[in-house]
């Protein structure tokens, strides 16, 4: 299973889906959770509510300003990976939605912790797509 192979870490589990992140993202996530300033607290609460909605509901009531499919990237073998972003104030979590062991799973692979503009960071998203492709085997004929 991908999560065991790649050392992905589960940060939320629900009735409908799970959220896993890479170790690098987990460090950023932990830094956010540890923050006690006003901005960090707003970001923490917002991100936590969005992730919970994603995990608990088959059809989450998340709008495009909260969770959006930003772009798709070719990852080889004629495959593409769609990159989605959770947007909690200036904090962005980029990743992809895959099915792991039959479970709907968001894999978070990049964080932009201090987004200056609302426009998604294309380089960061492309790097996320490549990392997720490498972890999941998408693009190399494995699943």
């Amino acid at each position: 299973m991908v999560r065991e192979k790649a050392g992905l870490i589960e940060i939320m589990r629900g009735n409908a889906a799970d959220v896993l992140v890479t170790q690098k993202v987990k460090k950023e996530y932990d830094r956010l959770i540890a923050g006690t300033d006003e901005r960090s607290l707003r970001q923490q609460r917002t991100l936590s509510r969005y992730l919970k909605a994603f995990c608990d509901l088959e059809t989450p009531h998340l709008n495009d300003e909260q969770f959006k499919k930003e772009a798709s990237f070719s990852v080889g073998g004629g495959n593409k990976i769609a990159i989605w972003a959770f947007k909690a104030w200036q904090w962005r979590l980029y990743g992809a939605i895959l099915s792991l062991g039959g479970r709907k799973t968001f894999i978070g692979a990049r964080v932009d912790a201090d987004k200056k503009q609302n426009k998604a960071n294309r380089e960061m998203m492309e790097a996320a797509a490549k990392e997720i492709a490498a972890l999941s085997g998408v693009g190399r004929g494995r699943s």
Partner: protein
């Protein structure tokens, strides 16, 4: 001269603010999904620009009560304002006022309940029974059989 200090809100206060904004945004998105209304249509229905609606949906949104009333009214909905404590108290009162029902038989398919006040007997599909005190049965799952 005293320098004014910016008040720093407590963690719980910040979470309460974020929760209320997110609850309203989730409810609005749920209604839009249910009614199959897109942003362009909502903009036309409310007279608000798409940019303003987008701003309303962001995590840093701070919509006025008037804007919210306008949006929900355009969707044919009315926001009902209360506090969690008042809502819970009202639910407790309703529960206390509800007439007692007693399970009198269960054959595995139907469970029969008798209403103490009236003597009427009702049957519910046994597998739909959750908790008579807390969860009303789904519409259509109840049949009034007979007066005792």
């Amino acid at each position: 001269m005293t320098k004014s200090l910016k008040r720093i809100p407590a963690k719980e206060e910040i979470f309460a603010e974020e929760d209320l904004v997110i609850d309203v945004q989730f409810l609005l998105q749920e209604l839009l999904n249910d009614k199959q209304i897109n942003r362009a249509q909502l903009a036309s229905m409310t007279g608000l620009s798409r940019a303003r609606l987008s701003q309303l949906m962001r995590s840093d949104a701070n919509p006025t009560l008037r804007t919210l009333a306008r949006v929900f009214h355009a969707l044919g909905e009315e926001l009902f304002v209360t506090t969690k404590k008042r809502r819970d108290d009202a639910a407790k009162l309703l529960k206390a006022d509800a007439p007692p029902w007693t399970s009198v038989a269960n054959d595995g398919v139907w469970e029969h309940f008798s209403e103490v006040d009236t003597g009427w007997v009702r049957r519910y599909a046994a597998d739909t029974i959750v908790d008579m005190d807390d969860v009303p049965p789904a519409a259509g799952s109840t049949t009034v059989l007979e007066a005792a």
